[in-house]
């Protein structure tokens, strides 16, 4: 029972991290109709910029707080220089251009920070384990990720559901052309959404950094999962992205934690241990395919 709880918490933590990344992606895709492959680069830049600012301030929290506005600015620059030109182009052009951005950012990081990768230490006040239940220890830092992720999710829900900007975002996601016709300053809205997406991606990157380490291309692996999440959740839907991220987080953990033992009940031990990672790798995609058959626009996608 303790073990199950521990694994579920791992799933929640992974899901929240994925949600931060997917939130920006689903907004840019849903509102600007932009397929942004370089979203993972913003995740990476978040981690690298935080590595620098944490070095300056000697404090994880201060460094992180300092890094976020920098990433917001970086998002605005990327939007103004590259992304803005792509809104009117087709998806293939967007894929090509944003793939170019990935290469650009990877090289940029190599030039500035070198090829070797960096590590960000877990802040000392979180470098211990907390007992979530008596006798069930859990890393405090991962627990902090869950807390921060949940707070951000609530803030985002409030922003989208209760504010004027949120209203425009929702309107933009369901009918882009119409809100332009109503005299809304689309350019400003787009910049803002892109910058916001960059901040979330950067936040996810810098929070993941102490667990996984900061390296070139760190965002590329995780981006594919983020795309799966927004497809399952329905493009443009924050709520969908949240639920899908939670589901994907749990699937990933189930696949890694329980599948090998399950397979061992009817396969030989060695066959089970090599088949399990392969199966858990495709599990997420099977779920995605299933959801798409059932609801072609995703769980909360706008029907068009």
């Amino acid at each position: 029972m303790d073990y199950l709880l521990l694994q579920m918490l791992n799933g929640v933590q992974l899901g929240l991290l994925m949600f931060l990344l997917a939130a920006g992606l689903t907004l840019t895709f849903g509102i600007m109709d932009l397929v942004n492959l370089a979203h993972g680069s913003l995740y990476m830049m978040g981690a690298y910029i935080a590595w620098t600012t944490i070095g300056w301030t000697d404090s994880f929290v201060l460094g992180a707080l300092l890094a976020l506005p920098v990433i917001f600015l970086l998002g605005l620059v990327v939007e103004a220089v590259v992304a803005r030109r792509l809104y009117v182009r087709n998806h293939l052009d967007q894929v090509l251009a944003t793939f170019g951005l990935i290469l650009f950012f990877n090289e940029l990081v190599r030039v500035i920070w070198g090829p070797a990768g960096k590590s960000i230490a877990v802040p000392t006040f979180l470098n211990h384990t907390v007992e979530i239940l008596p006798g069930v220890p859990y890393p405090a830092y991962r627990f902090a990720i869950i807390v921060v992720g949940a707070v951000v999710a609530v803030l985002l829900a409030w922003l989208v559901a209760r504010t004027r900007i949120g209203m425009l975002i929702r309107a933009g996601a369901s009918n882009r052309r119409m809100i332009g016709a109503l005299g809304v300053n689309i350019e400003l809205l787009f910049s803002l959404v892109f910058g916001l997406g960059a901040v979330f991606a950067g936040l996810a990157g810098l929070m993941a950094a102490p667990i996984t380490s900061v390296k070139i291309g760190m965002g590329d692996d995780i981006l594919i999962l983020a795309f799966v999440i927004i497809v399952i959740g329905g493009i443009g839907s924050i709520k969908g992205a949240f639920i899908a991220a939670m589901v994907v987080g749990q699937i990933d953990i189930v696949g890694r934690a329980f599948l090998p033992d399950l397979l061992k009940t009817f396969l030989s031990a060695s066959a089970a241990s090599s088949a399990a990672p392969a199966i858990s790798q495709v599990l997420v995609y099977i779920v995605m395919a299933g959801v798409l058959v059932w609801r072609p626009t995703g769980l909360f996608g706008q029907r068009q």
Partner: protein, 395 residues
């Protein structure tokens, strides 16, 4: 399109003529292709190898058997298909005399045949040692200056067995080398294996689920194989999960000169196995390590040491043949003697052209200047032969 085809054909024809006329030029350089990972998260390993190759070149004065030599570096991007492509390019386009390098078993397996068979070029693996190549895939054009994957974990397993460790939980990346490593430790460790995880390679970086399983399984020790960047991540998460100090960690290829600057104190005291350690007391090694440290301010790793040896092995053959490396069978015969001062100490080649060598147990420590490094604490295996050589058709 037509004119482009014509152009390509002309260039190809010219290249053939040029290549054909090469042996006539006595002082033309010996060409060595070097395939490693120079971009992406594992680029630090490739850089360590490149530095060691350049140091070998410097120590040789830029010449082998009186002939100058040049190195053509190619980046496999950590991908088997790219590695194969780059190897083919080196053989067919650059017409290299030798190819060396290869960190990853899956990259080497993809590149082996195009180089050794179709290209009839001698390949020296400076790291990867998939078990297949030691056995049924063994090849007259293949030499190793490293080991067979299974051997290093076998050394670790034997040591743990002798220390009375009762149970182990095994973890490795799910690819050719990862499977060999776990098979290796199971050959010599006779205690209980309470759990075993092969994780998605190379994209799984979060080990929380596996660490929770380990906590529940309560083994006497954890054995891991996570080279390069993955080793850094595993160690960090192992400490964060509060397992450090509770369940000891034993590793192969996961704590070394590349990863230690990132792992820092988390690695202190962790034991591992290796065929080369920077403090081995032979003269070749002292010179290599001291000059490397002077130049780069860091310790070299076994990746670098094996690359250094690969160049020295080629040089020994070129030296014996006075620079004429055109006759492959003579070159192979000379290389088989391993007649050079290896930084691991002298070794002999087995019939499958893998070294017969010692394996040591090493501990992660701080040197007097406070820099993280590893030091030898025991010899786990002496003159060890790999378990596959009898399956090799070469005698």
């Amino acid at each position: 399109m037509k004119s482009k085809l014509f152009g390509t054909a002309t260039i190809a024809a010219l290249a053939t003529i040029a290549a054909g006329s090469l042996p006539a030029v006595a002082q033309s350089p010996i060409k060595i292709g070097f395939v490693s990972t120079f971009s992406g998260p594992q680029a630090a390993i490739g850089e360590d190898m490149r530095r060691s190759v350049e140091l070998a070149k410097e120590h040789l004065g830029g010449k082998m058997g009186g002939r100058p030599f040049e190195i053509v570096y190619e980046d496999d991007q950590f991908k088997p298909d790219v590695g194969k492509q780059k190897s083919e390019k080196l053989v067919q386009q650059d017409k290299v005399n030798f190819i060396a390098g290869y960190i990853w078993s899956n990259v080497l397996l993809a590149s082996l045949k195009p180089v050794t068979d179709e290209g009839d070029t001698i390949l020296i693996s400076a790291n990867a040692g998939p078990s297949q190549i030691a056995g049924e895939l063994c090849n007259k054009n293949f030499f190793s200056t490293s080991w067979v994957n299974d051997q290093t974990p076998m050394a670790m397993g034997e040591y743990l067995q002798s220390k009375g460790v009762k149970s182990l939980y095994l973890m490795a990346g799910n690819y050719a080398a990862g499977k060999d490593m776990l098979a290796g430790v199971k050959r010599t460790f006779k205690g209980q294996i309470v759990g075993e995880d092969l994780t998605k390679w190379p994209d799984q970086l979060d080990f929380s689920a596996e660490l929770a399983k380990i906590r529940a399984a309560k083994p006497d020790g954890i054995f891991i194989f996570y080279p390069g960047a993955h080793g850094v991540q595993f160690l960090t998460q192992y400490a964060q999960a509060g397992l450090k100090g509770q369940i000891p960690l034993y590793q192969v290829f996961s704590i070394d000169a590349i990863t230690l600057p990132l792992q820092k104190d988390l690695a202190l005291g962790t034991l591992g196995a290796q065929e080369w350690v920077n403090d081995l007391p032979n003269d070749a090694n002292k010179k290599y390590v001291a000059d490397f440290k002077k130049k780069h301010g860091v310790y070299p790793s076994y990746y670098g040491a094996q690359s250094y040896d690969a160049i020295m092995l080629i040089a020994s053959a070129a030296e014996a043949l006075k620079g004429d490396v055109s006759d492959k069978s003579k070159v192979r015969a000379e290389m088989k003697k391993a007649n050079f001062k290896s930084v691991r100490g002298d070794f002999k080649y087995n019939t499958n052209q893998f070294p017969i060598q010692n394996f040591y147990i090493q501990e992660a420590v701080k040197d007097p200047e406070g820099m993280m490094t590893v030091k030898t604490i025991a010899t786990a295996m002496k003159d060890a032969k790999d378990p596959f050589y009898e399956k090799c058709s070469m005698k």
